[in-house]
Symmetry: C2
Subunit: 443 residues, 2 copies
Amino acid sequence: MRRRSFIAAVAGLAASRSERASSAGVAPRVNADRLWRRLEQLSVFGRPAGGSFADGVSRTAFSDADVAGREYVLGEMRALDLAPRVDAAGNILGRSEGSGNGLFPILFGSHIDSVRNGGNFDGDVGSMAALEVVATLEESGVRTRHPLEVVIWAAEESNFGSGLHGSRMAVGQIEPGEWERVEDGVRKGDALRRIGGDPERVAEARRASGSFHAYLELHIEQGGTLDRAGVPIGVVEGIVTIDDYDVTVRGFANHAGTTPMDARRDALVAASQLVLAVREIATGETGKQVGTVGRLAVSPGAPNVVPGEVRLTVEFRDLAETTVTRLGETLKRRAAEIARQTATEIEVQASSRHRGARAHPTIQSAIETAATRRALRHMRLPSGAGHDAQMMAQLGPMGMIFVPSLGGISHSPRELSRFADCAQGADVLLGTILELDGLDRIG
Amino acid sequence: MRRRSFIAAVAGLAASRSERASSAGVAPRVNADRLWRRLEQLSVFGRPAGGSFADGVSRTAFSDADVAGREYVLGEMRALDLAPRVDAAGNILGRSEGSGNGLFPILFGSHIDSVRNGGNFDGDVGSMAALEVVATLEESGVRTRHPLEVVIWAAEESNFGSGLHGSRMAVGQIEPGEWERVEDGVRKGDALRRIGGDPERVAEARRASGSFHAYLELHIEQGGTLDRAGVPIGVVEGIVTIDDYDVTVRGFANHAGTTPMDARRDALVAASQLVLAVREIATGETGKQVGTVGRLAVSPGAPNVVPGEVRLTVEFRDLAETTVTRLGETLKRRAAEIARQTATEIEVQASSRHRGARAHPTIQSAIETAATRRALRHMRLPSGAGHDAQMMAQLGPMGMIFVPSLGGISHSPRELSRFADCAQGADVLLGTILELDGLDRIG
């Protein structure tokens, strides 16, 4: 109902063609209120009992909340005549045809699953903005030359041991034991069936290289760079490469009262030196690389027992793969030194590498043009977080648009992006689609 | 049966009096085989399924294994005519009368509860040696002037938040909320009833000050000092004072990929500095003081999240209470410095003080005399571990005998003391009892 009246209101634009709308600088603007309403509607799935929008969300992949949220999205996509389907990997795909012949679709979207105790912006903004862009174009009577394909990737957040599930399946990157992994007593293979996927037919979710014109994703920054700079639009240069290590420090557990200081082989003392070394390694050279020890577990873990073993994780990230590799080598060297000095053994095991990806220069320029046409300040920056976009970059030209996260807070109920910033981000997404729609092929 | 034949065999000694046996240097020797057999018999209660003596024991206080072990001890004490009783705190007490009039009993014993995954020596050696001493004296026909009182303290190991349960009750040191503490879903008050105690009548377990002639305890050292020195008998100078602190480091949890190094308030980086500071504080002055961070928990604890909060424990121990106090003050100063440098908040909360105790000089001398009479090398040393003896020192003269722990290993299935060392320790316990039996009162 509402949609029809909007369409009537903009009937005068019905005949305009996207190229003209774009080049003339009169591209339609998204309906900011409706975008926000969709974010609110989506937020109820996985909301803490008795909570409000401000209390964040736990819409972990494959959960009841995820299933309910996906049903909501499917309903919205049907209302937009996107004829949505769920592929064997659980990805939701909707499509509207373009006016051109033989042109590849412009693929755009994000994800709606969240971390446990996450916020209502990570993934949701890009997903709801994708729907809003389609609604706006439809209402405005703007028909693109390229087909438009909206994608809601399944299980983007880390879950069952690794993230980017849906986009990994789209590039055929199935990990060893992928379906046998268990979380909360459920096998991943069975979890996938809960959202309409099928591990046995997952190869069908694979996309061919070069099968889309461009992949675009709007996302919150999840860091504080845009917020601190007061810039509303981030033009993502690329997604960092992420190397993870599992480290085990083995000392010797003993009675804390009866073991003299000079007779100890304290695994936590060694591990603490390593934690500080990771920070030193990351800050020891210029650049934006980061290094983190996020998990650390002490065994046996009693106040009166000298720790015998510590397990911890180390993670390095940078846009340059060579930098990430070098930081890991330095880590191993420092670990060996610390082991010698503390009479412990330190085992550093590479657990995963998530290869980053560069955003396509043509798309970065198109985003800048779209922002400039809307008089929005913008800046280039790397994405420190992983995104489905890095998988899509393996298949074709990719670009991402960031909007500010207040205080840089993310993966938290306190995650927050301004109403206006989300709408402006959606406008830039729409504008970028129209810019790229003017090209038959991205060089 | 066995006991009677032994008595028959030593019938010739039946008339000797303890003073004479002692002063003449012909005090009886314990039956080393029988002592070892008792240690083996006790070891089955709480033994890992399918394991052997070498696999250690989990006889945690109030557990089924503890209840079964206590039944075994009660049976052995009945066989020795000690007429055992269980007091309201769950302590097992047996007594044999002396020949003198109006003399206070010599109290001796240890505990049979263990830590989870502990060894078969901590507490067990002193407990089984106490039975063996009584058996030996009985067989030898040696009757002491002072009554002999054997005690098996209940719940010595840390359990329900604090240790030394039975001896604390004996001095009336009930902690706030003692009976409401819950472990594995069981209230401590209910746990106590499982071993025949009664929290409502626990005041009856209290002993009057000066109500015993001496308290003696044989124990494994639990450290490596005697083993490294190759000395079989340790004469304990006293038990260290132990101060425990609960420390909370509050930073800010954030995405590890999107938060630049200079924008982080990483609670684990701050906590690691504190772990190293604790070691520096303990080793920064001469002396035998020790400092330990044994427990450390990171929140939220994901590889890709900058730690927002770390909770850890700090423990300082030394024979001198003033030293322990000073180390804690230094800790607080260093924590404040680290908090400033890392943009975190660090809260240092004193959680408990276990006051140590000095062994009585007369008893230390008596132990040395007993060892010398048996041509056993001995050395004085502090006890870095807490013991029930420190509670008894509040009520009367206390002394402890240590035997070597191989490699200083304790609170571990690998805890091991030599067969011969355990028997020699029991011999010195017996000898010390006879030395002290010669005194009406310890000055």
